[in-house]
Assembly symmetry: C2
Homo-oligomer: 655 residues x 2
């Protein structure tokens, strides 16, 4: 995962033994450093999985033909630029493994494929003989990480870069400034990080380190400086640049805030000129993201000087004023040889089509931009912070079949980005919100549009998910840790049974549950242990639907009954744990409801098996219980209620 | 844990609610920054455990008396120097919590105690009313981390500093140079890190960051530059300073190696003069550790010029030559205002008693040093890399009751250090080798010698262990991850049952199992998932011993029978997993043996319960099986064999 463009399985296998060796054929002047480091990491992961003590750990670099087990050949160093060649071909024979590519970035992609091929039988580990030709469908395959709403330490970024590389993603879109924090050390304007970050920022050395780390994995790092709105933290240190008089303080709550740069004063552009001069040297990628979203214009409307400026310059509304601002910023970025990227809102006819539009509001804007000659990338449908199921993202194609775009226009859709906004995540939980769902999104960006079998995706997702753990990702292991803390070190079995059928509330619903999330709120509750796309619940829903639709055998029923019995009895096991852990109080009735609806489900299955119809009172009464069970508790919800509803309806003969 | 010097439990409790607040009384000019940051972290952990959304997250700093829930008062900033005041007093009343200390370092210690006091009942979370007066027994409470044999990234060091702070340790002894790697960026002699580290070194910025991070937690960072032996990696870049002609390559294997600095040439001291000048500015602690251990002298003996030098200077043996070297180094360190620390071997009468001896070979040396007027610290008995049980370390007192030292001499024993040597650990496993055992060692260093109840220690260790997870430590959660990888994502239940009664081989036995560990060897096998001091096995041994010694009730037997049955049936569950995971092959017979001896144990318990004696053939035959089960497999061993042996012996009437 992602599935390669062409795979031809062959006869035989290449066994992995302690005498496994690796080499790179060096015929050109290309530097083999990045490829060699990648092979070193690959050997480490291979040894880690197989437990083999390789006797030869050298990476052999020779100009002549290699005699190593793994033989690598590439023509030139890949550059970290949009559209760089990432193709590779991989041939596993019983005698050797040949990995070829135009660039060393292609080699990196091929090494990940190779690691996904490791198999085992009684004789030991092996690579199955295979011929693979592979190349990406889209050139822009990104993950946005928001380091602002919650700060994410260097190791969080690094381990997620590893995860990205494992699924062949190639852009880290790093959201570095926000109302809640300015996260970059800035030498020209040090008050930005000194006053705007609570001390939580990346030093320039750390940023350089991360960029190099990403580059070593064939990943570009595009910074986002969100302006003119979303800018409270900038204005704490430089209130004179704001549209309102100030003073400003770091924003602790979330949502759309009023503070905005003043686009009508020269000081603003002088500031950005110097600022982007410094940042252009630090962030080496060609693309700079300037945000541009969700500027509510309130401070502009409230400032008479800004109003006068608009009149004078014939700017009919705030959109026009923002376009004015964007044009000025574009000029600065162009001076420093950067290309401008922004959210939907920057797509205004006044701006040249050298800019790139990132669509968060919908695919319509994406198509429109493409039709008008703009390059664009899709994020709508990939908002992984919204706790939606994997298949929803997976089936969201950047170019749907009915897009009506010409081949030329299609080319302008560069790809897409999953966006990990950070209002409701901490370094402890971020990985479980990114992974494994983002692996499916990565496949959407890399593999053919025809690769869209959801069941097969979920099957492969399970495998890639635990393999991602070897990269240090915490998406699986941190759940058990949070549960231990929630039970105060007591047995977590019953809590796990409950959490397995719960999901965090979707979309923005967690913000509307009577508690205001702030920068300081704990993200350590049951809802934070619950996973988006809870596997157990998903499988139960599927099994229940199949049972209702026709497969009403005893075996099919028994599968359901086993789960339902477990849930029915779970609350009595969880109850004593809740008593000692007040933090669990908020999900007590949810746990009770699970027991109740499981009991209803058991009765329904029995009616169905016996071919008997329950009385109308039974249905009515239980539908009410099921309705109640749907209510969110603890900012989370039960994910098996609809399945049990289906069972209840089926008692009545419904399918 | 560690247990405070004085605790007086009072009536009542202070409830923790959303309106919890914290403040610092600022009456002097002392900077409140460190204390405020510590309170911020404390509030975060408190919110994390309780799930409470505190409404007031400000740290109130006032010169007048505070009205916050938590009220903090200290007189001055603590300096990070040996013997700095760390006392504190903590009073929890139903109305407020008062934490007082001489220094802010005392405040840090008190905040950790406070966090350990959190309790819960049906009404919610609370701090029980209590009066605590606390101070450390020893001034030097250290943990050595070896970043050389395996490199440990910055986050590994940081999370372990958090763990150290949680159990009130105050010295990170950072082992930074070794045969296998030179881990410091050195600007004066860049070939040290460029050629001696495989690119795995800490930049000076990272080192400064870690020192600041430690300082913020009241922890000194003492670097170790191990010379003149253990120095292969230095000599890769500067072979001219070696005692043999060279060239040198980074050592990949472990053990005592020959390469040694040449102590007879001026270039060596010129080098160290410049080197320590740079390092003295980087590492701000007053103490510098120069290692000095395990110099085998082979290269000295083989070098005629060195032999001639010894004769000329009347240095009767290599010890004398090393003392000569140490005196020269001491002079350099003194010039840069650093105090010299070294392992046992540097304790030679020629050196003044300003040096500090770290005893790794035994307590005898420690006492001897103290008697001769030298300060010393104990590490013998705290080698946590050797996989020994917690109680062994816990009962190892730096000043045993029979030490025969005068009070003056006792004072010279500054404390001790747990040593985490890194031959057999990786960033994935290091935490599980340090924690939770080191918490018990920390208690040995902090609490009174009279605090030595092993059962109570183990009870409290369980609690502190899962609490340490909130600091990012991976000692619990990584085991499940390693097991998932070992089973290739299959069910890990059976493997966990086996691992729960296994331990890694103790002392240096893992190096003598027919495989040579190198820098590249995988540390991802079953042995690496197994924990030192396996809890399940420890409890079984205790229960079996109690049963044998007299408590032969049916209930006591049933506890044993339950475990034995589980083990007896476990192999048939594990077998199909092993078939698909060749990496598990090495423990297959261990798993079989567990099933066999569990069956023997079941029979033995039955004989005992029935008061029947088995025939002599039964005993003989089974003793052989038990003998076989003791054999190490996969570099690990079963920890319940002796307990089952006891049961077998008890059938015969033995106790």
């Amino acid at each position: 995962m992602p599935l390669p463009a062409q795979v031809a399985v062959q006869e035989g296998k290449f066994p992995v033994t302690v005498s496994f060796t690796a080499g790179i054929e060096k015929k050109t002047k290309a530097d083999t450093g990045r490829a060699a480091r990648a092979v070193r990491r690959m050997l480490k992961r291979l040894a880690g999985r197989t437990g083999l003590f390789f006797t030869d750990n050298k990476i052999h670099i020779k100009s002549k033909s290699l005699e190593t087990a793994l033989r690598i050949r590439f023509k030139r160093e890949g550059r970290l630029r949009l559209g760089e060649d990432e193709t590779y071909s991989l041939m596993v024979t019983p005698e050797y493994i040949q990995l070829n590519a135009e660039t060393d970035i292609g080699i990196l992609r091929g090494l990940e494929t190779l690691l996904q091929l490791v198999r085992a039988d009684k004789e030991g580990y092996y690579f199955p003989a295979v011929m693979i030709e592979d190349r990406p469908r889209f050139v822009w395959r990104g993950l946005l990480i928001d380091s602002c709403r919650h700060f994410m330490p260097v190791e969080v970024i690094k381990r997620n870069l590893e995860g990205m590389a494992a699924v062949k993603m190639n852009v880290l879109h790093w959201h570095l400034t926000e109302d809640q924090g300015f996260r970059i050390e800035c030498k020209t304007f040090p008050k930005l990080h000194q006053l705007g970050s609570d001390g939580l920022y990346y030093t320039q050395n750390q940023i350089r380190d991360i960029i190099a780390y990403a580059a070593d994995r064939g990943i570009r790092v595009m910074p986002e400086f969100d302006i003119p709105g979303h800018s409270t933290s900038w204005l704490v240190g430089y209130p004179g640049l704001g549209s309102a008089p100030g003073p400003y303080t770091i924003e602790r709550e979330y949502g759309i805030k009023d503070p905005t740069f003043n686009p009508t004063i020269k000081a603003t552009y002088k500031f950005f000129n110097k600022f982007f001069k410094e940042m252009s040297a630090l962030f080496i990628d060609e693309y700079f993201h300037i945000g541009g979203d969700e500027n509510n214009g309130k401070h502009w409307d409230a400032n008479p000087k800004i109003q006068a400026f608009k009149q004078k310059h014939n700017l009919k509304d705030n959109h026009a004023l923002q376009a004015y601002f964007n044009k000025k910023i574009l000029k600065i970025l162009t001076k420093y040889k950067k290309k401008m990227v922004g959210w939907d809102e920057i797509f205004q006819p006044e701006l040249p089509n050298t800019i790139v539009i990132q669509s968060w509001r919908g695919k319509k804007a994406l198509r429109e931009a493409a039709k008008k000659g703009y390059n664009s990338i899709l994020s709508n449908g990939y908002y992984i912070d919204l706790a939606q199921p994997t298949d929803f993202h997976y089936l969201n194609d950047p170019i749907p079949e009915d897009s009506n775009l010409t081949p030329e226009e299609k080319k302008r859709i560069l790809g897409g980005e999953a966006t990990m906004w950070a209002e409701l995540i901490s370094p402890e939980t971020i990985d479980s919100r990114i992974w494994p769902r983002t692996a499916a999104i990565a496949e959407r960006f890399w593999s053919s549009a025809q690769v869209n079998d959801v069941d097969d995706m979920y099957r492969r997702l399970d495998i890639i998910s635990f393999q991602l753990e070897e990269l240090g990702l915490t998406h699986i292991k941190n759940q058990a840790m949070i549960l231990r803390r929630l039970t105060n070190g007591k047995d977590t079995t019953a809590l796990k049974v409950l959490v397995d059928v719960m999901e965090p509330l979707k979309l923005y619903a967690r913000h509307h549950q009577g508690a205001t999330y702030t920068f300081f709120s704990p993200l350590t509750r049951v809802v934070d242990a619950a996973l988006p796309d809870a596997k157990k619940a998903r499988i139960f829903r599927k099994q229940a639907a199949a049972f209702v639709k026709g497969n009403r055998t005893k075996e099919a029923a028994e599968v359901l009954i086993k789960d339902l019995k477990l849930w029915k009895e779970n609350h009595q096991n969880l109850q004593p744990v809740i008593v000692n852990s007040p933090v669990l109080k908020e999900i007590e009735t949810l746990s009770k409801d699970l027991a109740k609806i499981a009991d209803i489900g058991l009765q329904a299955v029995e009616y169905i098996l016996k071919g008997k119809k329950p009385g109308p009172g039974w249905i009515e009464e239980n539908k009410k219980v099921l309705q109640d069970a749907k209510k969110p508790r603890g900012h989370a919800e039960l994910m098996v209620v609809t399945a049990i509803e289906q069972l209840v309806n089926a008692c009545n003969g419904d399918k």
